[in-house]
């Protein structure tokens, strides 16, 4: 990680967008006190993670990338265990509340190992927030889920933010990034840009043109002067080109997606 500085506000869902190996998980591990940074410091809720790791750990909820739950314990037992680690006195109430909040009540007595993938992920998320943390780290919470389950999980993520938690969620799905209030684009350990999805797109539009060339061949498009990036798309070719690019006949200006923004910014970074 190289000089990463981010600010996530209470009630905000902040997306950390980047390809595999960009450093998303490393960043989350440092912030949650699992890893110690080589140098520099990380502040969470105004506390230095390196100096007061346990005060930080008491405040945060962390859902790891790999589903961490005990398959041989029931849904309720899993929640109760995690609640007891944080707030032993209120553990029972917190666990019951999480069961209700995440729609897990019908499965309370089911062993976690017997749940389907989507419900297991729901449980993993519920465990991370069972103690109602102020700060929530979610590392790729929807990886491997079907679209319906993913929508469910995102609904729950926003529900946590609405409760007042500051949520940092990592993803490499561009469509999911659209659901975040704000985003940081992370590439090779550095932050390329920060802003709302709209701000990022506007930023990209200022720097380049995003085009669609119907019926065009990829080779022909790539060889045009001023083309930064070209890839086949449906019946034609999608292009990212410099601002001064001379549009050919039949080319259409299109609204950049977050994926386009990301492609442009990484191109510039290299």
């Amino acid at each position: 990680m190289d000089r990463v500085s981010l600010e996530v506000r209470p009630g905000e869902v902040f997306g950390l967008l980047g390809p595999n190996g960009a450093g998303k998980t490393t960043l989350v591990r440092i912030l949650s006190g699992v890893l110690r940074p080589d140098e520099g410091r990380a502040l969470v809720a105004g506390l230095d993670v390196g100096r007061e790791p346990y005060r930080v750990k008491a405040l945060i909820g962390y859902a790891t990338q790999e589903q961490s739950l005990y398959r041989d314990l029931s849904v309720e037992e899993n929640l109760l265990f995690r609640a007891r680690l944080h707030r032993p006195k209120e553990a029972k109430i917190l666990a019951a509340e999480a069961l209700a909040r995440f729609g897990l009540a019908p499965y309370a007595k089911t062993l976690a190992g017997h749940l389907s993938g989507g419900w297991r992920q729901r449980l993993a998320l519920a465990q991370a927030v069972v103690h109602r943390p102020q700060v929530l780290f979610l590392d790729e919470p929807t990886t491997g889920l079907d679209p319906l389950s993913r929508r469910g999980i995102w609904g729950l993520i926003h529900q946590e933010a609405a409760r007042g938690a500051a949520v940092l969620v990592t993803t490499h799905y561009m469509d999911e990034a659209e659901r975040c209030h704000r985003l940081a684009l992370l590439f090779a350990g550095r932050v390329l840009a920060v802003g709302t999805p709209q701000e990022l797109k506007a930023l990209a539009r200022e720097r380049a043109r995003f085009l669609f060339a119907p019926g065009f061949a990829l080779e022909a498009a790539t060889s045009l002067p001023g083309v930064l990036e070209a890839w086949p798309s449906g019946e034609g070719v999608r292009l990212i080109a410099r601002k001064d690019f001379q549009m050919g006949v039949g080319f259409q200006e299109v609204e950049p997606s977050l994926e386009d923004v990301f492609a442009l910014l990484t191109k510039e970074a290299l």
Partner: protein, 381 residues
């Protein structure tokens, strides 16, 4: 404290829910006890003897009667020649051969010595040693009877040296008595290692390590929460073995029971922490999650094997080369077995076994310290 309890209760719940483990906890030690207690037997019994009795007189009759009367030896073959006796040993029909020369009684009457030829199967040195000792005992007995016979005939004769040997602690040389305290040490070692390994693998398999590290659980709470439930289980296992040894095999508990329990308790503590340390050293945390199962198995071997060899469980430490004698001090089971044998068989008390207890306690303290420090560093990585 509440966090340790949360973790410990979770451990017990998982052990109870396991299909195999609870049964294994009861069956494995019992199996080990019965296997070692019954199958391994150094006590000599029913040794087959091939005899070529060329004398066929009162001397040879007395000798054969003395030889077989205690059940240590049994007559397997009446051979017609010395060659036949040796052939019986070759073929394994007998393990001891005896040739009594003709005219034994006449020689005794003339005050001469009778040359007995004895062959012992020396493939197993331990057997050979014990068989020779038993044979000497028998011959000594016969000698004494012969001399007494001459004394009754009016001569004033006494054997020049008449040994009176007292075998202490285990007068009947029962192997089980010697073995069971050792088995207790071994069962405890194997169990503590197995349970702790499983406890660590359980977290790794659940992918929980990272979540636990990000929770307010302190490293020492983690170590204690994992170890305490297994500590009590291992202690229960020890009690089971002790009870079986006492009631089934009749091993006496001559010394103080509470001293015995204290020793076992300290031992379990040491063994557990030693293994936790070993596992952590091997890198059980996040980075090596995928390798833990294999590590757990190899860790168990790496720990139990030296314990079997170096603890004095079967092989006498005094007979080892200097280096291994020194190494045996690093095996906590050694101290436990010394205490167990001392208290159970000799009935000695604290004033005798305290150095071993102290060693165990020092081990516990040292290893707990190392384990926590190791853990802290792992967390920091």
């Amino acid at each position: 404290m509440s966090r340790i309890l949360a973790l410990a209760e979770k451990e017990l719940l998982q052990i109870r829910r396991d299909h195999v483990l609870p049964r294994l906890i009861v069956l494995l030690p019992s199996l080990m006890l019965f296997l070692f207690g019954y199958a391994i037997n150094f006590t000599l019994k029913n040794i087959p003897v091939a005899v070529h009795d060329a004398a066929q007189d009162r001397i040879s009759k007395t000798l054969l009667w003395e030889l077989t009367k205690e059940g240590t030896f049994r007559l397997a073959l009446q051979a017609q020649s010395r060659e036949e006796v040796v052939a019986a040993l070759d073929r394994g029909r007998a393990r001891v051969g005896l040739v009594v020369p003709a005219g034994a009684l006449e020689r005794v009457r003339r005050g001469e010595s009778v040359g007995l030829e004895i062959y012992v199967d020396g493939t197993d040195p331990n057997f050979a040693f014990q068989a020779q000792a038993a044979l000497r005992r028998v011959i000594q007995e016969v000698n004494a009877r012969i001399l007494v016979g001459r004394a009754l005939a009016g001569e004033r004769v006494l054997p020049p040296l008449s040994p009176e040997i007292h075998t202490l602690y285990n007068p009947e040389n029962k192997t089980a008595w010697f073995m069971i305290p050792g088995i207790l040490g071994l069962v405890l070692t194997a169990f503590t290692v197995l349970l702790t390994a499983l406890a660590i693998v359980r977290e790794a398999e659940s992918r929980m390590m990272e979540s636990l590290l990000a929770s307010p659980l302190r490293p020492y709470e983690m170590v204690l929460g994992k170890v305490l439930p297994n500590l009590f289980i291992a202690f229960g296992v020890a009690l089971l073995v002790l009870a079986l040894g006492h009631f089934v095999f009749g091993v006496p508990v001559r010394g103080s029971l509470s001293l015995l329990l204290l020793a076992m308790f300290l031992f379990v503590l040491v063994a557990m922490f030693l293994f936790v340390l070993g596992s952590l050293a091997a890198g059980v945390l996040i980075s090596t999650v995928a390798r833990t199962q294999v590590q757990a198995v190899f860790g168990t071997y790496a720990y139990v094997l030296p314990t079997i060899v170096l603890s004095g469980f079967v092989f006498p430490i005094e007979g080892m080369p200097r280096l291994f004698q020194a190494l045996s001090y690093l095996v906590p089971a050694r101290y436990l077995i010394e205490v167990l044998r001392g208290v159970m068989l000799k009935g000695v008390g604290l004033q005798v076994v305290w150095p071993h207890l102290l060693a165990l306690a020092l081990f516990s303290a040292l290893v707990l310290l190392l384990a926590s420090a190791r853990f802290q560093r792992q967390v920091a990585v």
